[in-house]
């Protein structure tokens, strides 16, 4: 490792009362891969946004090859060779790949865009790093993985030699993530320097040379990858020893939910094809699958927001036709949506309103909302589930992701649901929060709740589920017992390799 190419020196940044970055220093060598690790809200994105000029730091500076970057100027950062792949994609969906890549790269007042030269350059970069995309495709038509590639291409096209990736794998499938990391390693060998942010310790251990841990806005540790291990990193992040809980043996009860031969189409595309499964009281059934294969549809169907085309849903042995949200709530089905910001909570509403919104019949009389009892309910959730950062009347937007997830769990688990539907319950959460969520799910299982766990995280499913089924291209595999599962076996299942029939897996 040679000279440091990038130095972040004593950067601090305050948002209101919140010290998001507190005197953080960081350096990056040529060809090095540094992983930035930390809990939700630790300040990782903030630090990278300062580096890229989105935010102006309150104090401190950024040096690239010894020269100081002017603060708050993304242009200057780009010129200095910094490329950033944002946590939330920043692409214009109606423009083509080439347009997205080219925008802002030429002098604005040029009389003509150098489209053909740009096309050639993009092609060269694609070749060199093995990132193929169609330059004239409309970005909105691309898959998430392809969009991720466009984000990286944007940075490379600007001749970035320092590449920053903020949670690049959060939305990628395992396969895509693996491919991404092998590309990143190639890049490092070619002399690019990289910083990436991730909550997934496996990735971090596999890809990074060096790991920097932030906690509460401060840098708390810096380790070489070869000198540390996952357990230590988890502890450094959270500040205490965390262990994910594991399920203890139990005997499941009667079947509470049976899905028989159900198909669902959306916009004319059949998303679920004749699926069958049953769920028993006191068990966790894990459904795994690469995203895009129908688990979102399945979650929506059972949440009561989709209609089925054929087949039967049997709740406690009774066929119920189509399930509506009201039915679901009344029947004691708790629902944890996969996207907590979009579906799980309404940020601008108060915590108590989010707590009661889906169960308004219980908290209203003659069409009038019973505010006191709603607020009392929210107070109970806050106490029982350790929701930090707000009172019942606080705007929900102000909660961090982890605390918002606790609120959602709480409103569903407060009433001891008979069935709990949990879609990606720990996605994007840090180690501490993941452990807390898992603990709650297992607690519900102990209390006799039937838990349907839909997840892309194999480790999570293996730790929590009693039985596992895979969903591939809208079809559901037969269940296997979790004890007989291994990562390889599950990987095969997710690729559609199960015994009865041979399906072509969803192309990605």
């Amino acid at each position: 490792m040679s000279e440091a190419i990038l130095n972040i020196c004593s950067v601090s940044k305050r948002f209101g009362d919140n010290l998001a970055n507190d005197d953080i220093s960081l350096s990056l060598g040529k060809g090095e891969i540094v992983a930035l690790l930390g809990e939700n809200g630790a300040g990782k994105t903030t630090l990278m946004s300062i580096l890229f000029g989105h935010y102006v730091p309150d104090s401190g500076k950024v040096l690239v090859e010894g020269r100081e970057l002017p603060p708050g100027k993304p242009r200057a950062a780009i010129r200095a060779g910094i490329g950033m792949v944002h946590q939330h994609f920043s692409l214009a969906p109606n423009l083509t790949v080439l347009e997205n890549v080219m925008a802002g790269t030429e002098r604005l007042w040029h009389l003509r865009s150098g489209t053909s030269a740009a096309r050639r350059k993009l092609h060269r970069i694609c070749q060199r790093f093995g990132l193929t995309v169609e330059p004239d495709a409309r970005v909105g038509d691309l898959s998430v993985g392809e969009q991720q590639r466009v984000e990286i291409l944007k940075a490379l096209y600007n001749d970035a030699h320092i590449l920053v990736l903020d949670e690049p794998t959060a939305v990628l499938t395992n396969l895509e993530a693996e491919r991404l990391f092998s590309t990143l390693k190639d890049m490092a060998r070619e002399g690019l320097s990289l910083i990436f942010i991730s909550h997934k310790l496996d990735e971090v251990m596999a890809a990074a040379n060096r790991i920097v841990v932030l906690r509460g806005g401060r840098k708390v540790a810096e380790r070489l990858a070869k000198e540390t291990n996952k357990a230590e990193l988890a502890e450094l992040m959270v500040g205490r020893r965390v262990a994910r809980p594991v399920r203890e043996p139990s005997t499941p009860g009667e079947v509470v939910l049976k899905v028989a031969d159900v198909s669902v189409s959306i916009d004319g595309v059949e998303r679920l094809k004749s699926i069958d499964f049953s769920l028993r009281a006191g068990e966790v059934l894990g459904i795994i699958g690469v995203s895009g294969n129908g688990q979102t549809t399945l979650a929506h169907l059972l949440s009561g927001t989709l209609r089925r085309d054929k087949g039967d849903l049997l709740l406690f042995g009774e066929p119920i036709g189509d399930l509506t949200v009201d039915d679901a709530v009344r029947a004691g089905i708790g629902r944890i949506p996969e996207d907590r910001n979009k579906e799980g909570a309404i940020g601008e509403m108060a915590i108590w309103e989010n707590a009661v919104l889906e169960r308004l019949p219980r908290f209203s009389r003659y069409g009038l909302v019973d505010r006191p009892s709603g607020q009392a309910f929210a107070g109970q959730i806050i106490d029982a589930f350790d929701v930090r950062g707000g009172r019942p009347t606080t705007r929900t937007r102000l909660l961090s992701g982890g605390n918002m997830q606790k609120l959602i769990l709480g409103r569903n688990l407060m009433d001891r649901p008979r069935i709990l539907l949990a879609a990606q319950p720990a996605r994007g959460l840090d180690e501490g929060a993941v452990a807390a969520v898992h603990e709650r799910l297992l607690e519900a299982r102990r209390a006799g709740t039937a838990v349907l766990l839909i997840s892309e995280d194999l480790e999570e499913v293996m730790a929590l589920a009693d039985r596992i089924q895979a969903i591939v291209n809208g079809r559901l595999s037969p269940p296997i017992a979790a004890d007989s599962a291994s990562a390889t076996k599950l990987g095969l299942m997710m690729a559609g390799e199960w015994n009865e029939e041979h399906e072509v897996p969803h192309a990605f």
């Binding site: 579906e343 889906e358 069409g367």
Partner: protein, 349 residues
């Protein structure tokens, strides 16, 4: 420089900002008055006198505020649910013409206690129908309603113009394009003799309180707010999105149509194409001034009416061009909007 959202607003700020905004608008208007060569201080005094100085001016201010409260509520209700109804002007006109048509062709013979409510309902219904079209386009084709509701305003006024030039033309109107008048039994009672102030003001106030209660206390109010803030979240929580939006549209369009109805039944007696001096459009600004709060709408409508009637009267007593009234209203609306912004955000370096 950037703006940061205030999580807490001090009471002093909430009071001080609008005061500052009004002062700012008055200062600018004063500049224009001075350019016209009139004494500025006296002009300010005349604005006050023009708005409250006599029984006439006070009742006129309230008369003008009445339809503004209703159109302001129409916008506030819709905007809360993120239904961008820019079409209150058109709904106002359809409400008005529906009243005129219904009174002269359907209910004309009925006694007041029957006819008045029926006509109010007819006016509201017409407003609703006009708003349901863009809502349908939005729900069915995801067409943005800002542009469609805006465009339908012009269609509605042309449609009214066609009716009062044709089937609804008043045969006693000496050929002028105006509708048949509402029946005598349909005229809203006056609140004071020798004034134009009519019970429409009471109707508007009742609706402001009703809308406030509905929004803050009822299940529907909470659901419509959720639908506006985050449709996906609302659907997940079991809010029937389409039904909620349709209900919101019915309230919003109905209020705008009602505004047209009371204006015809309380003030004008028949419909012409200049029945509204932009009540629908001003209603939107009124709603924004009120931060979409129904009770705030009452204050904002009063403020707008005071500014207009006061400045209009001032122009007459000072002999300066009467356009100063609209200029003053526009200036005060713009500076109030800016002021409201600064109660929500602070400047940070």
């Amino acid at each position: 420089m950037r703006f940061e959202r205030r999580e807490h607003r001090s009471f002093a700020l909430v009071i001080a900002t609008p005061v500052l905004a009004i002062l700012c608008a008055l200062a600018l208007a004063g500049l224009l008055i001075a350019i016209a060569g009139a004494p500025v201080m006296e002009a300010y005094w005349r604005i006050l006198v023009g708005a409250f100085g006599s029984r006439l001016s006070a009742t006129e201010t309230l008369t003008r505020a009445s339809p503004l409260i209703l159109t302001g509520l129409a916008a506030a209700v819709a905007f809360r649910a993120k239904l961008w109804n820019i079409g209150a002007e058109g709904q106002f006109y359809l409400g008005a013409i529906a009243v005129a048509a219904a009174s002269s062709h359907l209910f004309g013979g009925l006694p007041p206690p029957l006819q008045v409510p029926l006509l109010l309902v007819a006016g509201a219904a017409a407003g609703i129908v006009l708003l349901l079209v863009p809502l349908w386009l939005r729900l069915r084709f995801s067409v943005d309603e800002v542009v469609t509701t805006l465009l339908l305003n012009f269609v509605a006024v042309l449609f009214v113009s066609m009716l009062i030039d044709g089937p609804l033309k008043d045969p006693m109107g000496f050929g002028w394009p105006q509708s048949q008048p509402v029946a005598d039994a349909a005229v809203l009672p006056k609140l004071f003799a020798r004034s134009r102030l009519h019970v429409g003001l009471m109707i508007a106030l009742v609706f402001a309180v009703a809308v406030h209660l509905v929004q803050s206390r009822t299940v529907f109010g909470m659901q419509s707010r959720a639908a506006g803030l985050n449709p996906a979240g609302a659907v997940f929580a079991g809010v029937p999105l389409g039904r909620t939006l349709v209900t919101v549209a019915c309230i919003s369009g109905g209020l705008a149509g009602l505004a047209g109805a009371i204006e015809v039944m309380g003030v004008q007696g028949y419909v012409t194409t200049d029945l509204s001096p932009g009540y629908g459009y001003s209603g939107i600004v009124v709603a924004m001034l009120a931060n979409l709060h129904p009770l705030g709408v009452v204050l904002a409508a009063l403020f707008t009416a005071v500014m207009f009637v006061g400045a209009d009267g001032m122009s007459r007593s000072m002999g300066i061009p009467s356009y100063i009234a609209d200029v003053t209203v526009a200036l005060s609306l713009i500076s109030m909007l800016t002021g409201v912004f600064f109660t929500q955000y602070r400047i940070r370096r």
